[in-house]
Structures are given as C-alpha cells and as structure tokens.
C-alpha cells in the first residue's frame, strides 16, 4: 500500500514536471501581455514619461489628479453621453434582430435555402472592420451609391460622413449588419434543441405555426434572451473602438467620440500616457460596476445570472 502510494506520488511528480514544462511558454505569454499591463495601470497615478520604470526611483506620484482632471474636463460628459447613446441605439435596433432572424430561419421549409440563408448571414462577420468601414464611406461619398440613390429619391445628401446627427445611425446600422447573423447562431442552436413532441402535441390541438412560435419557441428562448440582455446592459459602457476610429472624422467628434477613441487620439498619438491611462481606468471601473450591477439585479429579480 505504502509502496503504491509512493509510486503514485512519483508519477504525479513526473507528470507535473512535464505539464508545467508544456505550459511554461503560454503562461509566460499571458503574464507578459495580460498581467504586466495591469501593473502598468499605476502610471495613471503618476506623471509617467517614456523610458521610466512603473515603480521605484524617479517615479512622480500625483494621486488622483489625472482622474479629477478628466472628470471635470469637457470630454468626460461627452464621452459618457456618446457611449450610452450608441449602446442604447444598438440595443433597440440590434438586440431583437438576431432573435427574429433565428425564428424566421427556423421556419424556412426548404433545407437548402435554410442553410444558404444562414451561411449568407454569417458573411459580414468575416469581413474586416476596415473593409466594412471603407466600403461604407465610399458609398456615402459624394459620388457613392447611397448618395446617388438618395438623390434619386429627391433627398439632398451632401457630405453625409460629416453630419454629426447621422453618425450614430450609421454606426449602429453597420453594427447590426455585421453582427446579426453571427449572434443568431446561439439562438438557432438553442431552437434546434427544443423537444419536437411539444410541437406535435400543439399541432394535434390545432395550433397554428404562429401560435406555436409564440407559445413554444419563444418561451424556450427566454432564458437565453435574458442572459444576452444582461450581457448587453453590462456592456453598455463599452463600444467598438475599431469601427468608430475608422468611421469618424473631426466634424462628428461631438457624437462619435468614446473612451477608446479619446484615449487613442489624445493620449496615444499625443503622448500623454498618464492622463489617458487614468481616463481608461475610470471608464473600466464604471463598466465593471455596471456588469456586476446588471448581474446582481437579474439574479434577484429573475433567477438568471452569469455568475
């Protein structure tokens, strides 16, 4: 018995050395590129300049000064407003689309057409943001197809890309176009796991297909919809920086600027590393509180939670 245990321990030791050797490289990568930047957040509380260390000698601590400056600056309310407006528009115009699309696809009778529709709907997800933004900007240029089409309808459409009222719509619609198909996968695969006997017995009772959608399909999706909604509300303070950076220009900053674009423009390009880090950290903290809050409320009220 004792011998056996010793042998097992020996095997564990050998196994573990092998496993940790195997994991060494990836774990090191994670440390360098995920953990080191977290330590780097301290520069938000310093006057950091290039080449200095994060800690130790020569570090000039300034406490919360950068945070105070950012909060009282003219940018903070604008960024907060834009982020929330863009996300609310995304929620109202985008959240239901994958659900309705999944319901529609699920009702297509012809198997080949159903598969084709699905495949097509995934396509925008695979087109890069650079290409999506580039195509769109060329479509709304003065000789672009959208501008031409609007003029055909008799609508004066001049320099659409410089119109700050349109920007949130453009951004939102592009987001919906790019993501609806991919987001519908989750709903579709849940739909295919619904017990078919439910539909059969409903048919026997004479339910129409629309009624079956309402009374069987939608209730089966409800838990998933709730979880997705929590995610969406928790993500209210995050935005697609990539897409905005590509789409916006100085004349629409007032409706397009979000934290990512602000930090990119004012800090990264401008070299003001410490204020930018502080601004980014503040928004991350607010966002984190929101995620937890949304999850907490949902757990209390509906039994659905992420954690």
């Amino acid at each position: 018995m004792k011998k056996r245990r010793k042998k097992l321990l020996h095997r564990d030791l050998k196994d573990n050395v092998e496993y940790y050797l195997l994991m060494a490289l990836p774990l090191a990568f994670i440390f360098i590129f995920s953990y080191l930047p977290m330590f780097g957040l301290v520069i938000g509380f310093q006057n950091y300049s290039v080449g200095r260390p994060f800690f130790g000698e020569g570090v000039e601590w300034v406490g919360l000064r950068h945070f105070e400056k950012f909060v009282s600056s003219y940018y903070f309310p604008r960024i907060l407003k834009n982020t929330i407006v863009l996300n609310l528009m995304g929620l109202f115009m985008g959240f239901w689309v994958p659900i309705v699309f999944a319901l529609v696809v699920n009702e297509i009778r012809n198997g080949k057409f159903r598969k084709f529709t699905q495949t097509v709907s995934y396509m925008p997800n695979f087109i890069s943001t650079v290409v999506v933004a580039g195509m769109f900007l060329s479509f709304i240029a003065s000789d672009g197809i959208i501008t031409q089409f609007l003029e055909l309808l008799g609508i004066q459409a001049k320099s659409l890309n410089a119109n700050k009222e349109f920007f949130p719509w453009f951004y939102t619609l592009l987001g919906v176009w790019k993501n609806f198909g991919w987001s519908s996968i989750l709903y579709l695969s849940t739909l295919s796991s619904i017990d078919p006997s439910l539909y059969e017995s409903a048919s026997v009772d004479g339910a129409t297909r629309l009624k079956k959608i309402w009374f069987i399909t939608l209730p089966s999706l409800l838990p998933l919809i709730m979880i997705q909604l929590i995610f969406a509300i928790g993500g209210m303070l995050s935005s697609n920086t990539d897409m905005i950076l590509l789409l916006y220009n100085p004349s629409v900053y007032s409706t397009a600027d979000v934290i990512g674009t602000y930090v990119y423009r004012e800090s990264l390009m401008g070299g003001a590393y410490s204020p930018g880090t502080a601004a980014g950290l503040l928004m991350s903290i607010l966002s984190f509180i929101l995620v937890f809050g949304a999850n907490w409320v949902s757990r209390k009220k509906t039994d659905f939670s992420i954690w």
Partner: protein, 313 residues
C-alpha cells in the same frame, strides 16, 4: 425512414401533401430573401464595380451587374508592390499566429483536464483574472515598447498569440471526451505527451477547426495593433495598408499622396482613365475573397464552438 422524412422537424411542416404552402411560408421566404439581399449586395456591388469598364464605373452606371467588362483594375493592383508586400506580411502573420495559437491553447488546456495537476485551482484563477481585468490600451502599448518590440513584426504576432477564451473552450471540449481513453493508453504504457498526440489530438478536430478559423479571421482582419505598434511600412499587414487607402483619404488623415498609391499605379490609372474607387474595390475583393471562400467550409463547426463557449465555467 420514409415516415421520418414526412414528419415535421420542430415547427416546420414535413413534406406531406397535407402541409400546404401557406401565407406564413411566403412571408418567411420573403423576409429571408430580403435579408440575404441586404447582406450580399454591398459586396456584390463592390465586385461588379471592380470588374466594370472604367468609364461606366466612373459615370455611376453600375447598379447590379458589371457594365462592360474589364479586369484593368486588377491588372493595376497587381503592379502595386506595397500592396503585395502587405498581403504577404499578413499571410506570414496568419501562419505564425495559427501555429502559436494552437500550441498555446492545447498546451494549457490538456494539463488542465488532468486530475493530478498540482495547483489546478490557482491556475484557473490565473486564467480567469485577465478575462475580467486588463491594463487597457496605453499600459499594453508601454509594455510592448519596453520589450523592444516597437516596429517589430513580433509586436503583431505575440500579443495576440494566445487566447484565454480559446484555452477554456478547448479544456471544456477535452473534458467532454470519455476519460477511459487516456486510462487505456496509460495502461498500455503511453506517456502523457503520447496520449495527447496519439489519442486526444485526432479526436479534437472540431475544436482545432474552431480555433483555427477564429485565429485566421482574427489575424487577417486586424489592423489596430499594427497602427499603434508599427510605423514601418515594410512590415504592415494588409488591413493597415487598406485602411490607409480606403479610410484615411476620406477623413483627410493622410495628405502626402492623394490616394495612398504608388507612382507606377497612379500612372497606370491615368492611362486607363480609371478612378481610384475602382482600384480600391479591386483591393477589397482581393483581400476579402480568401476569407469568404474559406468560412463556409468551417460552418458546421461554428455551432459547436458557440455552444461550447456558452457552457458556464
């Protein structure tokens, strides 16, 4: 069998004659057709424009089908050395990214499924923390710079060469395989690595396919890292090149050349009376088509990947 094919699948009526085509079916089909059109049309228009006669394209005559037929735009793009250099760079980044990503994913996911791994709990925390916290844009930039990777191709490969999400996906997949497999192998005297390579990897094709397609698309389509970590045009990925050609011109960020294209290309364009728009569309087609050709082949794995990811823990 026959009876089965007649039966309804979910809420969809079977093929029996009793299940006639209804207004409901018409509505479903109409919506689907409209959605397909909205999804395909922008890309289709870009392809048609790139293949049209330069004069027709410039005059706005193209709406759906190419007007006239010309591959001039592609011939001119073929002359653009900077474009092809960037294209090649991206191919290299994708290959390097895929190799490293697969290794980094499996090398952590496999030990995580072993019950005798020491510190498994701590390791899980180590993986979970970065999923909720991060340093953000500037600290990441400073770390990359401090490592001496600024303006190096490695700055485009290493920061994205692992994904904790993929590790968890892969671990969930491996853990769902029957445990008897490895036990049988160990009884036969296989080492841990042999069990991984000979038994687990062949069974892991679906998850490898999922990770591969995510990585290929992610690396091929990325430009942001390159825009902050590099200034050297010789190492730029193709999406950054495209951004400079497609986007910056409109927002006036680049004033050095009018279109972002080289001198030979400008001359060839002038000779053909070609607009920059057509060239840009040809570039979009060349850069996007490889991905659009590949993804339908991976389609059956998407559901698998999404479902694995939605399992808690």
């Amino acid at each position: 069998m026959k009876l089965n094919s007649m039966a309804a699948e979910g809420n969809r009526p079977g093929k029996s004659r009793l299940n006639r085509w209804t207004g409901f079916d018409t509505a479903v089909t109409a919506i689907s057709v409209v959605v397909c059109f909205i999804t395909i049309y922008p890309m289709w228009y870009v392809i048609s424009m790139s293949l049209s006669d330069p004069i027709a394209a410039a005059s706005g005559a193209v709406a759906f089908w190419p007007v006239g037929f010309s591959v001039e735009s592609y011939r001119i793009v073929a002359l653009d050395r900077e474009f092809w250099q960037a294209f090649l760079n991206s191919v290299i980044y994708v290959i390097a990214g895929c190799v490293l990503m697969l290794f980094n994913t499996i090398a952590v996911a496999y030990p995580l499924t072993r019950k005798n791994l020491w510190g498994r709990r701590w390791l899980t925390y180590y993986l979970l923390v970065p999923m909720y916290f991060g340093g953000g844009m500037i600290p990441s930039f400073i770390v990359v710079t401090k490592l001496g990777l600024y303006n190096s191709p490695w700055s485009l490969i290493l920061p994205g060469c692992y994904s904790i999400w993929n590790i968890i996906l892969c671990r969930t997949f491996l853990a769902s395989l029957p445990p008897d497999l490895s036990e049988a192998a160990f009884i036969d005297g296989a080492t841990n690595l042999q069990a991984l390579v000979k038994i687990y990897l062949p069974l892991s094709k679906p998850i490898i396919a999922v990770i591969l397609i995510y990585t290929i698309v992610g690396v091929w389509n990325s430009w942001f890292g390159a825009s902050i970590y590099t200034t050297d045009r010789d190492i730029q990925p193709v999406q950054l090149f495209l951004r400079n050609v497609l986007v910056s011109m409109q927002s006036g960020m680049r004033a050095d050349t009018q279109t972002g294209m080289t001198k030979e290309v400008m001359e060839a364009m002038a000779e053909q009376a070609m607009t920059a728009r057509q060239l840009r569309y040809a570039m979009i087609v060349i850069v996007t088509m490889p991905i659009l050709m590949v993804y339908p082949m991976f389609q059956k794995y998407f559901t698998k990947g999404v479902m694995l990811g939605s399992i808690k823990g």
